[in-house]
Symmetry: C2
Subunit: 150 residues, 2 copies
């Protein structure tokens, strides 16, 4: 059975391995030993921010999935909180077994617990399968997602 918990520093190696083991991730992550310091610093910033949660999915002791949930208070929509899901990955050994859905549905429940009115995410247009996956879960692609690299 899959369990979910907040990530701890010791999980970081496995998490970065999953982030890098991905069609798009492999071109932009650096899974090395030791891990680049930037990952540790980001982990510490996430860990100490009460509005960010890095969540791992586990099968027994083994980490098989990860996602980050950011909770943001907004003035729009009459001053409502939103949850933003980012960095969703599953271990390649577990793909196609429903783990991705479990990760997202866990985040949706967590968003409800935190009093959010909207759950949102963006997905790269180079991942058409991911778009269909999120639509099947009930997300609606009402928005364009724009990025600018600095």
């Amino acid at each position: 059975m899959v369990t979910f918990r907040k990530a701890i520093a010791n999980d970081l190696d496995k998490i970065v391995q999953m982030l890098a083991d991905d069609e798009l991730g492999k071109t932009r992550e650096r899974y090395e030993t030791p891990l680049p310091d930037s990952y540790l610093k980001a982990f510490e910033a996430i860990d100490k921010d009460p509005n960010n949660e890095l969540i791992v999915a586990c099968l027994g002791e083994e980490i098989v999935g990860v996602e980050q949930i950011t909770f943001t208070p907004y003035l729009t929509h009459q001053g409502s909180w939103r949850a933003t899901i980012e960095g969703v990955r599953t271990a390649s050994s577990e793909r196609g077994k429903g783990l991705g859905s479990q990760l997202i549905l866990w985040a949706v429940e967590r968003a409800k617990e935190r009093g959010c009115h909207i759950v949102q995410l963006t997905t790269d247009k180079k991942r058409p399968d991911a778009l269909r996956f999120y639509e099947r879960l009930g997300f609606i692609a009402t928005h364009e997602g724009l990025k600018m690299k600095l």
Copy 2:
């Protein structure tokens, strides 16, 4: 000359007025006297969060624009911070004068100051003019933006 500063509680009435004075905003905001308490609570949550900044653009004493910038540490992209821009509005009297561009470019500079590697936003597909506006400023619509209302 337009100046920019962090919003204070006294600005809230004018900010909500601008959020409501908009094709999509008028259907989902409640600009009333007194303001619904949910706006005040959201303002307080934003104001006390060091990773959220509610910014107003002013002409003299008058508030003519607003935007919210959220700074988020992520593990992805080798552990980099991102800035997310949301709730961008300009006073109807000032539209078409370049104020929107100034707001966005101010946020981009602020994102650089905060060490962000990506600036991102989503724009409703019902606003094709907004999409072109952001593309002219250098944003690239690489992603689909999905939402789920709870």
